[in-house]
């Protein structure tokens, strides 16, 4: 069976983002960009399913600027077979990405789509659930374990208070949580091989998708800064401060 794995180009998780002085967004010029960490986990899970013989072909998709090819190449180096870039400069909201992915899923007919549970830039945590709705498929979000057998996906989910296991009829959507796996580093030979793997480029309009944003960003600002407090010299002093100064215990 085919598997689709979407990957997003985001500001690297180690970068301390800065709000632009004009309040229109955050500074992304000359900032290191990487694959969204949850999407790396998704790619890793896809590759492991292929290694187990469950999946026959992995298609890595990215919707974004031309440079998002880099993130598709990373997925290809990790073990995906081919890539699709849905090229668009400018904002793509989860609803637009979900519609793009639906159009691709209609064409490619994958049995499973694994996505990151959230992108670390907009922190929306929405695309997987939205795609599941548009396709009319079941969803196993925030997965810490995925098993595929006999036309079903059994997904263990990280929920408030512990874990929950659901069984989904394939085709289905899975979104990855942190502890699903530890993504591999692509080896140099695999990076070289990935250069020869095909990447098809399309535009949202080719897929019949209107990507006009529904949200207008009126302003982006820095949150109120906390200032560092005082260092206390002992546990007794700490307890005294908490009791008599902060009055929280």
């Amino acid at each position: 069976m085919k598997l689709l794995v979407p990957v997003k180009r985001v500001v690297d998780y180690n970068v301390k983002v800065r709000v632009k002085s004009d309040g229109t967004g955050v500074e992304t010029a000359n900032v290191k960009m990487s694959m969204n960490p949850f999407d790396e986990i998704a790619v890793e899970e896809a590759v492991r399913l292929k290694e187990k013989g469950v999946v026959s072909e992995i298609i890595a998709v990215s919707a974004g600027p031309t440079a998002a090819q880099e993130q598709i190449r990373t997925a290809l180096a990790m073990g995906a077979d081919r890539g699709i870039l849905v090229e668009h400069d400018g904002v793509l909201e989860p609803i637009a990405v979900a519609k793009i992915l639906k159009a691709l899923a209609d064409k490619e007919q994958p049995q499973l789509i694994i996505l990151g549970k959230q992108a670390i830039d907009d922190d929306m945590s929405a695309t997987g659930q939205m795609l599941a709705a548009l396709l009319g498929w079941g969803q196993g979000t925030f997965a810490s374990k995925v098993e595929i057998a006999d036309g079903f996906a059994t997904v263990t989910r990280e929920v408030d208070g512990g874990l929950e296991t659901v069984k989904l009829a394939l085709p289905a959507i899975v979104t990855t949580d942190l502890r699903l796996n530890e993504p591999r580093y692509a080896s140099l030979p695999n990076i070289m091989k990935a250069r020869k793997k095909p990447i098809e480029t399309v535009k949202p309009a080719d897929l019949g998708v209107d990507v006009t944003p529904r949200l207008t960003v009126l302003k982006v600002e820095e949150p109120a800064k906390r200032s560092a407090g005082v260092k206390v010299g002992s546990v007794a002093e700490l307890v005294d401060k908490l009791r008599n100064e902060a009055k929280v215990i």
Partner: protein, 311 residues
């Protein structure tokens, strides 16, 4: 039009984050609460006493028992016609269901609302809370999840709203519930606790978390953990505080052996008072702490436990 809020409940009452969501919803209009799943009717009786709730809807159909995303979303969509806003707490359950609802209504959801400006305009954190975006939605209906830490919960009692039992929508039957492993604890829920004490990688082992738990029990606090501690297997996943875990804003947050990565700070920096205990004087956590104590946690935490006994 009224505001519909999908409540989280434990079969007895709605959660505190749900009451925070009611506080956010009340800024927009008349609030109706929807409770689904096992025990919804019992919890609804309690929820009907929340003063700012005008009506409580209950659906206990078998297809909704485990609050699976697909039938729950179908129910919300069937009710959506009568509402301008559909809200839920930004809990695991709310985050699972609401984007599905939004897609079925052709709406871009607004996740993790931390401020309500007007019916169309909301403030939400992006980039792990390092920036706050004010966004205005052009969608005819709004679908959003609410960051509980940003809204003081409304009281649990004092009102008397009518309770109405409603039927489920047709079950899409796309998934089934196999089981759950729920951590049973006498301690308060992380997102509702007045005091939270969290351990980091420096705890060294799951067993060592016991010294934190003893202090937690003295303070009536919830126990949290950094991602590093959870990844290392020292603490269960639902203890994780941070960008991709739980967002907490207690009166007092005590960070023990936590260096203070931006991703962790994203989950706790709105706490009223922050205490950091760490042996590394340069740890970034001290930059946000009101009170810092430098030293070996294995010596200081047992000392703290003893000191709390003294009056």
């Amino acid at each position: 039009m009224a505001i519909l809020i999908l409540a989280d409940h434990d079969g007895a009452a709605v959660t505190q984050p749900t009451r925070s969501t009611v506080a956010a919803g009340a800024k927009l209009g008349e609030v109706h609460l929807l409770l689904v799943g096992e025990g919804a009717a019992t919890a609804a009786a309690s929820a009907s006493q929340i003063p700012s709730v005008a009506k409580v809807l209950v659906a206990e159909d078998a297809s909704l028992a485990k609050r699976l995303a697909e039938p729950t979303a179908a129910l919300l969509v069937s009710l959506a016609g009568g509402y301008s806003h559909l809200l839920a707490p930004a809990s695991a359950a709310g985050k699972n269901v609401m984007p599905r609802v939004a897609a079925l209504l052709d709406v871009q959801p607004i996740s993790d609302v931390a401020g309500v400006i007007d019916a169309d305009t909301f403030v939400r954190p992006i980039y792990a809370g390092n920036a706050l975006a004010t966004v205005k939605s052009s969608d005819p209906k709004k679908v959003a999840t609410v960051r509980a830490a940003s809204f003081d919960p409304v009281p649990a009692t004092g009102g008397s709203a009518p309770v109405e039992t409603i039927a489920a929508a047709a079950d899409p039957a796309l998934s089934s519930f196999l089981g759950a492993e729920v951590q049973k604890s006498e301690r308060p829920e992380l997102t509702a606790a007045r005091i939270v004490i969290s351990g980091g990688r420096a705890m060294g082992s799951a067993e060592n978390f016991a010294i934190i738990e003893k202090v937690a029990d003295k303070l009536g606090a919830a126990v949290g953990a950094s991602r590093a501690a959870v990844d290392a297997g020292y603490a269960p996943n639902d203890h994780q505080v941070g960008q991709t875990g739980k967002i907490v804003a207690p009166e007092l947050y005590i960070a023990v052996g936590i260096s203070g990565a931006i991703q962790h700070l994203a989950g706790m920096k709105d706490s009223k008072v922050i205490v950091a205990i760490n042996k590394d004087e340069e740890a970034p956590i001290f930059q946000v702490a009101d009170y810092g104590l430098v030293g070996d946690l294995f010596k200081l935490i047992p000392e703290l436990e003893t000191e709390l006994d003294k009056k």
